[in-house]
Structures are given as structure tokens and as C-alpha cells.
Symmetry: C2
Subunit: 133 residues, 2 copies
Amino acid sequence: MTDSSAYPDFSKSADGLLPAVAQCAETGAVLMLAYMNAESYAETLATGRAVYYSRSRGRLWRKGEESGHVQEIRGVFVDCDGDAILLKVHQRGQASCHTGRVSCFFHQATPDGIQIVSDPIIDPAQLYGKKHD
Amino acid sequence: MTDSSAYPDFSKSADGLLPAVAQCAETGAVLMLAYMNAESYAETLATGRAVYYSRSRGRLWRKGEESGHVQEIRGVFVDCDGDAILLKVHQRGQASCHTGRVSCFFHQATPDGIQIVSDPIIDPAQLYGKKHD
């Protein structure tokens, strides 16, 4: 074990939030990028489920709290300088994106423009309002 | 092609910077997280090499400009709401991290603390001051 006080170091950002990347533990796909504060990070480690801080809602965001599509933690990693977080997760329900897609990164950019390169696997209208345990 | 004006949308952050995740195109490993401004993003697309914005140096950071370990772009993706970027890259020299490791995410966190889970593959002392094409 090494000194854990600096990893992650939430004081490195003015608003106390660090970016957290969720990666599918099974396929390696990068699923989404969200933000964590110290409280959401601690709850993630303690509960084994991904908890972010929603900047738009201004509160903790327990991923899957509405859709049931929780992210079960398989590993938590912090980068070399303690200001970015990587979560390896099992994504329940497969779709991590609110659009019903596996990944949020479905716009591919080239010098010619932007193209949508994946389709929803779930109807987002069915995704919300549905409660799971 | 869809409307590309909002992807990515650099106006979504107060400082005009968006997080950019670099993923190894061959293995799927998440290598690092850095930041881009509109200029570095445009140069990345135009040149096919990853260009970030260094917050500590306050200028464009052409990844590999000192070490020669450039990141050749295999794909650029933008997330659902246009405020995060994913680069699939071929990492020349294999080590993306300034510590000489393949990935910057080498601190694994558990409720018990932090552990270093990978070793350098290159001596960082040999990494800098060396110029490559």
C-alpha cells in the first residue's frame, strides 16, 4: 500500500469534482464520463456501485437509481497525478447512456463532420420511470 | 452526417476545456485523461495526432513532442451531450504515462487503500530529452 491521501486529490479542481471514466469490465468499451466529488467517490468504494456527482442536478447521482441500470464496480483506478478516476464496471441492462445506447460516445468525428455510429439497444422512453432493485 | 456544431461543445465548460480520454485502439486499455480546447481538438482532427491543452503549462501539448511517443489517432468520438471526448489511439513507444507506464491509471483503490498495480516499461529518465519523429 502507498500513501492514499493524494489519490484521488479532490482539491485539484476548484469545484472539488474530478472526471471519472466508466469502462465495461467485460468488453473494454468506454461507456461514459461523469464527475465525482469526495462523497460520491467514498460511497462508490463503500457500496461497490458507481455513484457520481450530477453537475446539472447539483447532487449525488447513484447511477441507475431511476433506470435500475446500476454499474457494479469491478475495479477503481486513479491516475498518476491523482486527478482522474477510472471505474471498471459491469453495466446492468447493458445501456449506460440515457439515449439507450451501450456507450455515450456514439458521435464519431472526422475532418468531414460528425456521424452517429451506434443505435440504441433500449427505447429510452422505457428506460425511465422503471424502478429496479 | 448530423449537425456537428454542438459536438463537442467547448462552451459547456467555463474555461473552454473538455476532458479527453485516450484509449489504446489495439487493447482497449484506458491510457490517460487530459484536456482539450477547441484549437487542440481541431489540430488533432487535422493532423491525426493527439493534441491536448496542458493546464499546467497553459499551452497546446502535442503529446510526444518531447518523448517521441506520439498518439496516432484511430478514431475520435464525442459523447451524447457533447462535453467529453474519446480518442482511440495507437500509442507509439507503448508508454503513455510520464512515469514510463503503459497507462496513467496504475493506482488501484479499494476500501483498504491504494496500491500500485503496474510497473514502468520504460525508464522515465530515458523518456525525456529524447526526440523522435
